[in-house]
């Protein structure tokens, strides 16, 4: 919705003003000056991203230290352990060191990609994240591509036929689906299409990624079968934002003189739309898509949990309920990093698409 999309747009507008002004270099041509200014702009954006990454790292350390829990008690799980054993475990985990020492060693290890060992899995956090990442990328990546395409397509159609019955219906439907809690829609889909209600038989599996030991082509079909309901949930809740941004930016363009010119040249209506209006209206949608891209990695904690999808979202939920401090720290950092990288990529690519920005 507009509320979420505007910050990105405002950010873009800021990016334009934050960028270094092209210095007076009369000796070089305008092109060289532009390239230099652009490289400076890119360098500034990357530097900003590095600062943000470091801030995220520091946050992840302090935020989760605040959770009132004793990791050692969690690990021993109520088994009878002697005080010496507890002490040695504390020492092993480095919990007996002063806070600042824990902090410096945490930052030092994290910079080499080491977030320690998970309390629950007794395995390095990064290994666990790398293991679960493909499942999340598969699910949310598929949903991302689908809802972006559907959103752009429907947004273009509704704006072009602004005020028609189809426009009103599609906008109302999108706003309604946008107001629906994703996890609730998931649960409802499970009831209707997995458990079955009345005459509707349960035709899709209730959760997980596979239902047994299939291999080769059968495995692909099995995973696809398991993906249907979660992907429908994510797409239904997700496409509205793209639709609304695409619709409003196309409506902005539609009064423009260059479209009248294009029509006056005798171009057909859909050529005017495809070749002239849509490319210009794509810019805000493009920003939104990059913002969403960052969230592909962060996955959908709730949808993954509801469908027991073995990805990063479910892992985070488990980590929080344990609580598994190193795991949650590592995931928090990975989620935030993905968003920062996607935003930086958008900042860097945007001036190439819209020459008015960043030069």
């Amino acid at each position: 919705m507009t509320a979420d999309s505007t910050p990105a747009l405002v950010q873009q507008a800021d990016a334009a003003t934050d960028g270094p002004p092209a210095g007076p270099s009369a000796a070089r041509g305008p092109r060289a000056r532009n390239t230099k200014a652009y490289l400076q702009y890119v360098a500034a954006k990357i530097a900003g991203a590095v600062v943000s990454l470091f801030a995220v790292l520091v946050t992840s350390f302090f935020l989760f230290r605040l959770i009132p829990s004793d990791p050692v008690k969690q690990m021993t799980g109520g088994r009878p352990v002697s005080a010496e054993q507890l002490e040695s475990l504390r020492h092993q985990l480095g919990l007996d060191q002063p806070m600042w020492q824990q902090f410096t060693s945490y930052i030092g290890d994290a910079l080499t990609g080491d977030f320690g060992a998970s309390f629950a899995y007794h395995a390095p956090v990064m290994d666990k994240i790398v293991e679960k990442l493909p499942a999340t990328l598969l699910l949310t990546g598929t949903a991302y591509v689908l809802y972006s395409l559907i959103g752009i397509w429907l947004g273009t159609r509704t704006a072009w036929r602004n005020g028609s019955a189809g426009d009103r219906f599609n906008t109302a439907l999108a706003l309604t689906l946008y107001s629906v809690p994703s996890f609730w829609l998931g649960l409802l889909l499970i009831i209707v299409f997995s458990v079955g209600v009345g005459p509707i038989p349960g035709m899709f599996p209730t959760g997980g990624m596979t239902s047994g030991d299939t291999s080769g082509f059968g495995y692909v079909i099995d995973v696809a079968h398991h993906m249907v309901l979660p992907v429908i949930t994510l797409v239904a809740v997700g496409y509205a934002q793209t639709l609304l941004v695409m619709r409003s930016s196309l409506l902005d363009e539609m009064g423009s003189d260059y479209l009248t010119t294009a029509r006056a040249k005798g171009l057909r209506d859909d050529v005017v739309r495809r070749k002239h209006a849509v490319p210009n209206a794509m810019l805000p949608t493009f920003t939104l898509m990059f913002v969403n891209l960052g969230h592909v990695v962060a996955g959908q904690i709730l949808v993954e949990t509801v469908f027991s999808w073995p990805g990063l979202g479910s892992l985070f939920y488990q980590g929080l309920s344990t609580p598994d401090l190193p795991l949650v720290q590592g995931l928090f950092f990975v989620f935030a990093t993905a968003v920062i990288l996607a935003n930086t990529l958008a900042d860097v690519l945007y001036p190439l698409l819209d020459p008015r920005v960043g030069r």
């Binding site: 943000s52 995220v56 409802l188 458990v195 409003s248 995931l331 989620f335």
Partner: protein
């Protein structure tokens, strides 16, 4: 943007000729006029009117909850029905696992969801407005620092941060309100800052400064009234987001276990095995209620936005 004190308001022809009026009376009359103008514009948005009607209805239901369904309907021990009964004449939406009427819980849950939605949105918009105005008004390093902090909050995964905050603090309604408010303000801060910059570039601000208006005077008497309409639209949109977030956090089991909200109803339903048993009457109503309230606030917010900025082209 409806500017209350920058644009000269034409005196309506019907007004009686009053050559001398106090400045205060003039200001009041202008405010009344711009409110009337706003309402005339707003009324033309069909979606906004539907949203407003829905909100009034839901607010009335929430306020009249004790009269409508009885004060003891949340009690587990005095539940009158059997566990997980399907809808019947006595229980129009069936019962939960303790034999309580789902309809009664739904009505009580409206109070919690609306309270959390309103307070969290208020907190979010209040922080955002203060940060936005201060960052827009002052130049130099503290503006930069404030915007850096805003950016940093903006890249944090909101839900993850809210979940972390909610799990760090005690399990209460205030925890949820604070967790939502503290994680969602950067959007508002950025919008308000942009608007503040636009307002401060106008000549009348320079005039106010020349007449000796200090920072506080400029920010409170000139900038704030001009960002208020934008803030109003932001609040309405933030409420629907906050209601969804409340449901999410309660569903994750981070809410107050003693209070019934729509999110905690969904969590209870899932815990009671309503999903695998196919008890749709227990699961469907809370979700529909959340969606309807969130939709109503969104419709109002979009209507307000498009009154303020007709270029947005929101469907009427």
């Amino acid at each position: 943007m409806t500017t209350t004190d920058s644009m000269p308001t034409p005196t309506p022809a019907s007004a009686p000729p009053e050559p001398v009026r106090s400045a205060r009376a003039l200001a009041r009359a202008r405010k009344r006029q711009s409110a009337a103008r706003f309402w005339r514009e707003y009324r033309r948005h069909k979606g906004g009117m539907w949203g407003l009607a829905g909100l009034i209805l839901i607010a009335l239901v929430a306020l009249a909850a004790p009269q409508l369904v009885g004060a003891d309907s949340e009690s587990v021990t005095e539940a009158s029905g059997g566990a997980l009964e399907s809808p019947s004449g006595e229980f129009p939406l069936g019962t939960d696992q303790f034999g309580r009427s789902v309809l009664a819980l739904l009505v009580w849950g409206a109070r919690v969801s609306l309270t959390v939605g309103l307070l969290a949105a208020f907190l979010c918009v209040a922080i955002g407005t203060v940060v936005g105005i201060v960052a827009g008004h002052f130049r130099g390093w503290y503006s930069t620092v404030l915007m850096r902090v805003t950016d940093w909050f903006l890249v944090m995964p909101t839900l993850v941060l809210a979940v972390a905050l909610a799990s760090v603090m005690d399990r209460s309604l205030w925890t949820i309100i604070i967790a939502i408010g503290v994680t969602t303000w950067p959007t508002t801060a950025r919008l308000v800052r942009a608007q503040t910059l636009a307002v401060e570039s106008r000549p009348y601000i320079e005039r106010a400064r020349a007449l000796g208006g200090g920072h506080g005077h400029v920010m409170l008497r000139h900038v704030l009234p001009n960002v208020m309409p934008l803030v109003l639209a932001q609040t309405t949109l933030a409420i629907s987001g906050a209601i969804l977030s409340e449901a999410t956090l309660a569903f994750l089991g981070l809410g107050d276990p003693t209070i019934t909200s729509w999110g905690s109803m969904l969590q209870d339903a899932r815990a009671a095995g309503a999903v695998s048993a196919g008890d749709w009457w227990y699961l469907a109503p809370p979700g529909i209620a959340i969606a309807l309230v969130a939709l109503a606030f969104t419709l109002c917010g979009r209507a307000i936005e498009s009154v303020l900025n007709p270029k947005l082209g929101v469907a009427r």
